[in-house]
Amino acid sequence: MSYVKLTREQLAARVARDIPEGAYVNLGIGLPTMVANHFAPGFEVFLQSENGLLGMGPAPSKADEDYDLINAGKQPVTLLPGGSFFHSADSFAMMRAGHLDIAVLGALQVAANGDLANWHTGGKDDIPAVGGAMDLAVGAKQTWVMMEHLTKNGESKLVERCSYPITGLGCVTRIYTDLAVIDVSKDGFSVVDVVDGLSQNALEALSGVRLR
């Protein structure tokens, strides 16, 4: 039996499908940013960026780029009518007190207990940098992870316990990968969706962790 991994765009579309209209969402830098491209026109989702804007719109044309109007990845963006600007403490108040419905974050590892590792490999020469990752992981009503299921070396990013430094304890509620959608609860990982052609057993073998 053979399977095809979701492309990055397919994965982004899969995540977008689960975001309800009217949700307040922060899309982390990197892969999660792509989710923004997969909402239907007129479907209103409120995108927040921790550097101080709510109601983020699509990327501007090259000619309209303005580096005073950027997202958390420091890329130029636009603001929708009805958007707003605010300072960093107000922005993080939004993020830290459960005002955001969903944070979609990249990950190095997610553990069966919901622990997230995504800010640092802990390598001796690696420069650590955390940004808003811990605030989002802990602060949003729901924290979703969006990542490739396996590392470039074929290791599973789903683990029993994170070996990388932790971003937040027990914070991940759902994982979207190029192979599957997986819920995380106090009972561990449970599979919601698998790509066509991949059995749950095969997924479990690839993942190296128990999947219900």
Binding site: S49, E50, N51, G52, L53, K62, E65, D66, Y67, D68, L69, I70, G73, K74, Q75, P76, L79, F85, F86, H87, S88, A89, S91, F92, M95, R96, H120, D125, I127, P128, A129, V130, G131, G132, A133, M134, D135, V138, G139, P165, I166, T167, G168, L169
Partner: protein, 236 residues
């Protein structure tokens, strides 16, 4: 008549002292007070502690200050960027101290200083390496069934921030996401120095639209307008 307008960047920065703790606004290039940082480079103060979100890009602004060996310690959330090689080198060589702080804790600790708070409990960072200070886990506490870490305010001697318009009483507005840390840093420093692109008459800023009231600003200096450059991303 009270006027907080400084004639020049050099005048505004004249009394910054060695060993000072200096907050620097900005997230990416937006709100980065490059002209003030360049002024600080010329001014000569060293042994500085810098509080900022990032730790410099390429070899301008903060990175230039770092490269010149003027910074002892950086308190920031995101030093690693695509073009942060000056910081990266100093850090790997053990020639600069880093206090890495989750960005929301950074903003809230700065605000706490500006609001007279002696410390606060936050969930963010609990159970992580960033809930340690010099290797020792900070105080924690269970509140309503959830675990919190006690974080302390960050005060500064000087805040360097970039605003958009200002008046002689120090009222400020900002431009889009250049607002970021400016308003809270202005509250947390003994001396806040703001660069603006336009100095306007009292009352030209609608009192409903003032973002930083003048009480938080000691000096305002006009700089020429220049498009904000990309920073911390692959060059466009």
């Amino acid at each position: 008549m009270i006027s907080k307008i400084s004639e020049s960047v050099a005048t505004a920065l004249a009394d910054v002292s060695h060993g000072a703790t200096i907050m620097v606004g900005g997230f990416g290039g937006a709100g980065m007070p490059n002209e003030l940082i360049d002024g600080l480079l010329e001014q000569g103060a060293s042994d500085l502690t810098i509080v900022a979100n990032n730790a410099g890009n390429a070899e301008f602004g903060l990175a230039a200050l770092l490269k010149a060996g003027r910074v002892r310690k950086v308190i920031c959330s995101f030093p690693r960027q695509i073009d942060s090689y000056v910081f990266d080198g100093l850090y790997r060589a053990g020639r600069i101290e880093l206090e890495l702080v989750p960005q929301g804790n950074l903003a809230e600790r700065i605000r706490a200083a500006g609001a007279g708070i002696g410390g606060f409990f936050t969930k963010v960072g609990f159970g992580t390496e960033l809930a340690k200070h010099n290797g020792v886990t900070k105080e924690t506490r269970e509140i309503n069934g959830e675990m919190y870490v006690l974080e302390s305010p960050i005060h500064a001697d000087v805040a360097l921030i970039k605003a958009e318009r200002g008046d002689r009483w120090g009222n400020l507005t900002y431009r889009m996401t250049a607002r970021n840390f400016g308003p809270v840093m202005a509250m947390a420093a003994k001396t806040t120095i703001a660069s603006v692109h336009e100095i306007c008459e009292l009352g030209d800023i609608d009192p409903e639209h003032v973002i930083t009231p003048g009480i938080f600003v000691q000096r305002v200096v006009k700089i020429p307008r220049a498009a904000t450059v990309a920073s911390g991303v692959k060059s466009p």
